[in-house]
């Protein structure tokens, strides 16, 4: 889709200059006629500018996809990662789902909340930190966990380690995540969520996986356990030739 003859509404106008090009890039990832698939990444994209989905952001998504604002609103209000009020530079999430909760996550949450003086989905007065409790972040072997801008920031968190972390953030430091690459701002992170690669140096490297992740495989290595009889040249039973007239999938017009 290269059609840039989109009539943008007044509400969308402030975002057009910066976001139209990446928006069209996002839309181009999906099959022709299926542009609406771009809506979730586009909603992430508008958060790169404003830190939340604003009325402008909704209008931009609606205009660029040719759908109405109620349709965009219905989607934007469904997902928790679309923030609907201005956010801070850092989104600090504490897992309070059952396991993390009982392993100390609730205490981390409560004390951090008291320390920051804000509750769930609220932003500190200095505009630095938006605070929230999160549901299971898929790292129960590191429980309890705290993320900053969705990157795992502290494993086996304690109230003290969590408070130390937010203090660093407030002081302008960007502490290295416990797992994951360099910390960015929440707006920068939205760029990645919109499907763009993280181009920063060292964005991908984070050293070896964490100990819990590797526990089983390390045990196996230490004790020389491997699955026997693995032969990568094991033949596959062939009942017909590999290609019938240039087998390129179920041919369809693109």
């Amino acid at each position: 889709m290269t059609d840039t003859n989109i009539d943008f509404s007044e509400a969308a106008a402030p975002l057009v200059e910066k976001l139209l090009a990446p928006a069209l890039e996002i839309i181009a990832r999906y099959p022709a006629g299926r542009e609406r698939s771009a809506l979730l990444p586009l909603l992430h994209l508008v958060q790169t500018q404003e830190g939340h989905v604003s009325p402008s952001g909704v209008a931009f998504c609606a205009d660029v996809l040719g759908i109405n604002k109620a349709q965009v609103g219905a989607v934007a209000t469904f997902y928790t990662m679309y923030k609907r009020r201005p956010t801070g530079d850092y989104l600090v999430s504490v897992c309070t789902n059952t396991l993390c909760n009982m392993m100390g996550g609730q205490r981390v949450y409560d004390e951090l909340s008291e320390h920051l003086g804000v509750g769930h989905d609220e932003t500190t007065a200095d505009g630095k930190i938006t605070f929230e409790h999160a549901e299971c972040l898929a790292a129960c072997d590191y429980a309890p966990v705290v993320t900053v801008n969705y990157d795992f920031a502290i494993d086996e968190a304690t109230p003290e380690s969590a408070i130390a972390l937010v203090e660093k953030l407030r002081n302008g430091e960007r502490p290295a995540p416990s797992r994951g690459a360099r910390l960015g701002s929440l707006k920068e992170m939205q760029h990645q969520l919109a499907g763009f690669s993280d181009e920063r140096d060292g964005a991908l490297a984070d050293g070896p996986a964490g100990t819990p992740t590797l526990r089983g495989v390390t045990l196996a290595q230490q004790h020389g356990v491997a699955v026997a009889n693995f032969n990568p040249d094991t033949p596959i039973a062939k009942t017909k030739p590999a290609r019938e007239g240039g087998n390129t999938g179920n041919e369809v017009k693109k």
Partner: protein
């Protein structure tokens, strides 16, 4: 901390987790040195139908929870129908307790990509999507970089490895909704809608993404495929049990000495897994555990020798689910745990159907009251009956998952509830959580 016996150690089957030990395996050059993309070369040399047969022969079953035979699923895709086919990989890992797909995509992303190419070739799809949970930013970062590398190396794009086969692969981040792990909700979400489950039939194999034939597979399922292609069906079946073949990554968390990911043949028991994990945490006695995430009925210490395969767990009255074993001890309150799970299911209910939307809301209120020391005996009957009114009555499995811990804990640990009601256990919640109660 106890050392595992060599007998139990032999139950480890490092297959999918093996490359995790190599910190740079996320890079394509390293991956290729570690057998990477060898399976693809091999697969492109056989007819797609033969690949489907191979996967059928391997007995591979879906790793996302339901355990549906993968080869059978692929075989449902109508061929020669003139419609585009799609492969959609469910990487929306979010079932509480589950943490195996994220490390796999972070530390071995190419194995998923390679599996995706092979699977797409088998079902004749020219477009594949990986729907990755929004919050999984680092895994997505690695995965996107790996996809870019694969394109550059010619493993994705046009005429892959000279085979004439074309495939585009898009990594699509979600935006925070547990329900999108349900495959039809995932498809709606991928199409740019609210992630609410669809009516079935039609099933995705006939009308999935964009109303076209679609295979939706879990990350672990697709990442298994290259190993099956390389090692063969018989080798794959040398792991696990007759009906539950292959290795499985068990996610162990909670009150054990060494929480973590343990890849073993299907059929291992919790007792053995705890042994691998160095035993229970000192001072903790096993009280209850989830065999496959919080949506599977809880098991107790008496189930410690249940074989952790699809059949074994089902026989114990639960489900293998995502083999996410959250382990709780005598120091953990099952009533509190259940309340917290319910808050989760309530938070994640999509709102579409009455039992799940309303039932979870009202049950959380009842739990808050019990945990504040204001529960009544009648509340216990109400909870059990409401759970029964949700279980099997809601539109999709989320409601079942929510009802599950309620029914389990009321069955196994009724006394713990009575202790709150009768004042033996101090209230866990303050009455400020009860605003509006009367």
């Amino acid at each position: 901390m106890t050392q595992p016996s060599s007998e139990v150690l032999q139950k480890l089957t490092p297959v999918l987790t093996k490359r995790w030990l190599s910190p740079d395996a996320y890079k394509i050059d390293v991956y290729q040195r570690l057998d990477g993309y060898a399976a693809l070369r091999k697969a492109l040399d056989v007819h797609p139908d033969d690949l489907i047969q191979l996967v059928k022969d391997s007995g591979l079953r879906g790793r996302g929870g339901a355990g549906f035979p993968t080869g059978l699923k692929w075989g449902f895709i109508p061929q020669g129908d003139g419609k585009p086919h799609y492969l959609v990989i469910n990487a929306d890992e979010g079932e509480p307790g589950t943490c195996k797909d994220l490390p796999l995509m972070t530390y071995d992303p190419h194995s998923l990509i390679e599996g995706a190419i092979i699977a797409s070739y088998a079902i004749r799809a020219n477009q594949a999507f990986i729907y990755i949970r929004g919050e999984a930013v680092h895994a997505a970062r690695r995965l996107r970089a790996a996809v870019d590398e694969a394109y550059r190396k010619g493993f994705l794009g046009r005429n892959i490895m000279g085979s004439g086969f074309d495939l585009d692969l898009v990594v699509h981040s979600g935006a925070g909704a547990y329900i999108c792990g349900e495959e039809t909700a995932l498809l709606d979400s991928l199409e740019g809608f609210r992630g609410q489950p669809r009516l079935r039939p039609p099933f995705p194999a006939i009308a999935g993404l964009y109303a076209s034939p679609t295979v939706v597979n879990n990350v672990g399922t697709i990442a298994s495929v290259p190993y099956i292609v390389l090692g063969g069906a018989d080798w794959w079946k040398s792991m696990g049990t007759e009906k539950s073949s292959g290795p499985m990554i068990y996610s162990l968390s909670g009150r054990i000495a060494n929480p973590g990911q343990y890849e073993c043949g299907l059929g291992i028991t919790l007792r053995e897994l705890i042994e691998l994990a160095g035993g229970m945490k000192p001072g903790h006695q096993l009280k209850f555990w989830t065999p496959g995430g919080s949506s599977t009925p809880l098991l107790t210490a008496e189930h410690i020798d249940t074989p952790m395969d699809f059949e074994g767990v089902a026989a114990a009255g639960s489900l293998l689910g995502t083999t996410a074993m959250q382990i709780f001890s005598d120091q953990d309150c099952p009533v509190y745990a259940t309340w917290r799970w319910l808050e989760f299911y309530h938070h994640e209910s999509c709102g579409k159907c009455t039992p799940c939307r309303e039932g979870n809301y009202w049950m959380t209120r009842t739990y808050r009251r019990i945990l504040s020391g204001e529960g009544t005996y009648q509340d216990l009957d109400t909870l059990m009956d409401t759970a029964d009114n949700i279980f099997g009555r809601s539109f999709c499995g989320l409601g079942d998952g929510a009802a599950t811990p309620v029914m389990s804990t009321l069955n196994y640990f009724r006394q713990d509830y009575l202790d709150y009601i009768e004042g033996r256990t101090a209230p866990r919640l303050s009455s400020k959580a009860l605003v509006g109660a009367h």
